[in-house]
Symmetry: D2
């Protein structure tokens, strides 16, 4: 940690700071600059208590951490890419590119099975579908619950697709894990650490969406909760952040692809459907994501988006999904991946 | 709902939209403007499915809801102010102004009791203290848990203060309710609807913090989950939103005071400690909050902030809290309240 | 400056960094920590070139400035408050509190004179009114230009109020200075440094609005352009920042009051009309601003807001302005000011 | 325009609104819904005064425009793509993809000519370089001014590259137009309409950067100022918006590529250097931009970024720029373009 002192303080005031640094277990190292005195506090910031509390002292102007706070998700200690084994035949983070596709909400058997058959034929390997739905209003459709999970399982049996679905409640972790291959933690729960821990403990691969207001460091630290609970199967999923723009529902931050690749060994998945809230932008953003090296896409697909029970405006119909896969193929190849 | 059609579409394309509107249970009302045709869809937006899915149709340019989505928290159907009975002698939302004060985290008996005695003497009526702490990193202090709850209970016995503490897990709702007078839902869980429902079901008064990225409409709708689960004892608490500014930790949005008073009958509480992350700004923001008509304050106070186990930089020491109360008194009176 | 090196780099890579630091005129001071090596670069950051370019080196993880970049606006070198002499009888930043009030745009003589007489009677000392208007669309009313300036001058003659109006073009600086007592730099031009310099050179007091996306440090530095061009008469004016919230037009950041008071010796003025875009919130925000120690208010007032040529939704009518002044008086007194 | 009335208002209050609508030249069309009455105001929103002032009336809940406010930049009235003739041999917006490259600031002849020769060899067709620099602090390097323009002209003579440079002051428009092929309007001046008009009047092609806090509608309207001043040669340039994220300097919003293509006929250029502030992310974002259909790139390149006089951290060195061009080529081809 670096502690910057205010200008013109007395030796005595300086000593108070130095003593506090020592009390918290760091070794102080004083550096007198032209305009300000700076104290380096030597010690492991991830095992010692933060010195940010020193900000409370009137003689302290600023406290700046120098170490990164994440360890297990960091590429520093794990230089090679992690490859997530979803199933014997599905690895995310390797040479093969994957597409997860399916409806926002599971509505009924026909809707789900029709979609599953169609997206599989087009090239998807994983079926997405919400059984428990977090909804802004208590009066909106909250998902079919366990019945939805069973339909996902049925679709999986019939098509051979793997399944991803969202976990909403700590109390459902075992239930959801029974039916799904990947557990999704949604954007509203991205700092619901109790839920993340419950999900991690099932041992299933976890897809951790970025909170709509999360800085990248906070997202990596939320992922740290998964690995620290002895589950190494973590994927990050960018789904747009909240900004002042109103044309799109969120601002999809594709720079997260090279950033997550720099900072972490875990795969990065892009969700352009949530990311923009507009199906007419999805194809273009998929091309960008693929070219930039994303490991997989998560795309919302519905047989009849205009009649969907949730988020119709961002779902592709079956035909447009088929076109999407065709159109991104040359970019997948240029990126050195295969599908 | 208002559906705006794109310019230059055919009668046939228009008919498709009209049929979809009827299928979803609304009555269409066509209005031909100079540049665009607009369709009013008449029907109750809070009981019918949203027409926003129509955005998927290529002939539709925009869909705009006209009704407010919240009902129970709305002042429209409940014109008089709600007053929350925390205890026989503590009502929030009435003429008496209240201050909730105490440490960010409960650390030990001495720290808590010292603080409790001191803040009571200065004028606080409710003791705050975190027993379960949501922390960005898994390596930070996560709170004393049940032991912390017992210390809060002890402080309450000794001082007569009421108690507020945060609920972090659905599985702890009964446990926390046993020890506390008010249950706090924190900013990271402000759209963790399962947790909100669990809290509501305890029947205890709920203090719902604004999510750091929540629009006011979403916050009101999250509050709707409390009232829709038959708990009328809801307070909103503004604690700052996330913006591009880095001088403060968050941007405390004091305009929420008149806005919540306009839109809802529920009390509004202001938390300037979280709101800025800097104790040197707390006094000034408290004056503003009081002048603008806040019903209560939530202030972090610690006997030795520089040594605090969490968020020291934003906690006042005992002496400064005493001064704070003195300094805001004239503003409380000018606002027509008493303390 | 502090330069943080990446872990596990060689001595040779470290030497490259040290040489670059020396080449740019700083004295390096190496500090070996547990996980990382940190180099303090000793030298005056405000006269030397920034070391942030070192971020380009692959062995550098982070570069952190320790000095503040503003000097002349800073309270550090000028501990006492600056008081701005607008006119012999009008000082801003002293014990007397001031209200600047008037229409968004000057529309015609009757509208302006009626408003001027009324706001003066209610307690305002300065008349605001836009003659040159920056408008998002080229098809919106762009202001009366010089004719507007002449009407402002006439209103000043008739009422004795001082005048504030916005400068939009470098080419108008002399013209505007001829008619106005205070030059306003608007939010869209808050980093139009050529305009700020032209305004500063007139010698008139400058009211510098915060850019809607400006960090406080950037705002202070934009103010530095005024003082560095030998005009000491600078006032900062908070008018709301752009956030994700859509209920209000901007988010008025009242925490700027104590922050500007901490960091600078210049007065701080609050504009709640632009800050929220909703006249129904203006009174409440004025109370907050006054209680928190603002030096003046800038409020939009129009005889008939529904018929205003610009921004009607945020303008008070004459009656409501009169009420406003009455309602904030007790708070002005509690804040130790007079009106 | 759509005017939403509050529930439970009287006929008389409704009549007041209707009269105001008529007075402003619109024809009212009343629609009685289940919970609210809605009035459609029929008339051309781009030629009549806005009805948003009606928000001031207590009986009005909301006013919603239905028309788009931009006309000349809109694809609606100009369905085919605009192709900008920079020079006889350089068209932007057609089949050929262009790269604009060069240093952030022009520093001296050697730096500029070395860069120009190198980027030309690698595949760039346009040389960028700042002669007038807008700098956050008055103490930072402000550019070489006219001397910088002359060096750009010299580099153009020697290499045959076209030139783009930023215009900072209305008073320099003729001077800058004399030396450059494209005039850049920077992010801080994106709503400095006087400057945009001055630039438009030179007749030179204009590259209009997005303001760091500009909504897309506002950006399109700022572009409207160019076309409304009889200059059809407009290009939009996305360079990142300001968000809460601190890992990157800005958040580059690549979704603007399909959005500008949907809404406008003008070309879209991407600037990943400003967009992220980190040269290590530039290559990846260029791949994404190209795949998504950008018409050109604007990339900062410097012979020695660590010694650059401004923004070194975001500039590529000559070698990395060469690699960049090689790496994006396959994506340019997959996108159906050539270089």
């Amino acid at each position: 940690m670096i502690i910057v002192l205010k200008p013109n303080i007395t030796k005595k005031e300086e000593q108070v700071v130095i003593k506090e640094i020592e009390k918290l277990g760091y070794k102080p190292c004083v550096m007198r600059g032209v305009a300000r005195t700076v104290i380096g506090a030597i010690g492991d910031e991830t095992t010692h208590r933060s010195l940010e509390t020193l900000m409370i002292l009137p003689q302290v102007e600023n406290v700046m951490p120098v170490q990164k706070r994440y360890k297990l998700v960091s590429r520093e200690g794990h230089p090679e890419d992690s490859v997530i084994n979803v199933r014997e035949d599905i690895q995310i983070g390797g040479k093969k590119f994957h597409i997860m596709a399916g409806p926002c909400s599971v509505e009924n058997e026909k809707q789900l099975i029709t979609t599953a058959i169609s997206v599989k034929k087009a090239g998807a390997t994983i079926l997405r579908g919400g059984a428990f739905k977090p909804r802004t209003s208590p009066y909106e459709f909250q998902g079919l619950g366990e019945k939805g999970l069973k339909l996902l399982y049925k679709a999986k049996q019939e098509t051979g697709l793997a399944v991803i679905t969202e976990l909403l409640s700590e109390n459902h972790s075992d239930l959801v894990a029974e039916y799904t291959d990947i557990i999704q933690i949604g954007t509203r729960n991205a700092q619901n650490f109790q839920l993340i821990i419950a999900a991690a403990k099932t041992g299933k691969p976890i897809l951790l969406k970025r909170g709509m207001t999360m800085r990248i460091e906070e997202w990596l630290l939320a992922g740290e909760y998964v690995l620290a609970n002895e589950n190494p199967n973590l994927m990050f999923c960018e789904r747009g952040i909240r900004t002042f723009e109103t044309y799109t529902r969120n601002t999809l931050d594709l720079s997260t692809i090279p950033i997550i690749k720099n900072e972490s060994h875990c795969p990065i998945v892009i969700d352009p459907s949530q990311g923009t809230g507009r199906s007419d932008l999805v194809v273009s953003l998929c091309k960008g994501a693929v070219a930039m090296g994303a490991d997989a896409l998560l795309v919302e697909v519905h047989p009849n988006p205009a009649g969907a029970w949730s988020d119709g405006a961002q779902q592709l119909d079956l035909k447009r999904f088929e076109t999407l896969v065709k159109e991104i193929k040359p970019f997948i190849q240029s990126a050195g991946r295969e599908i």
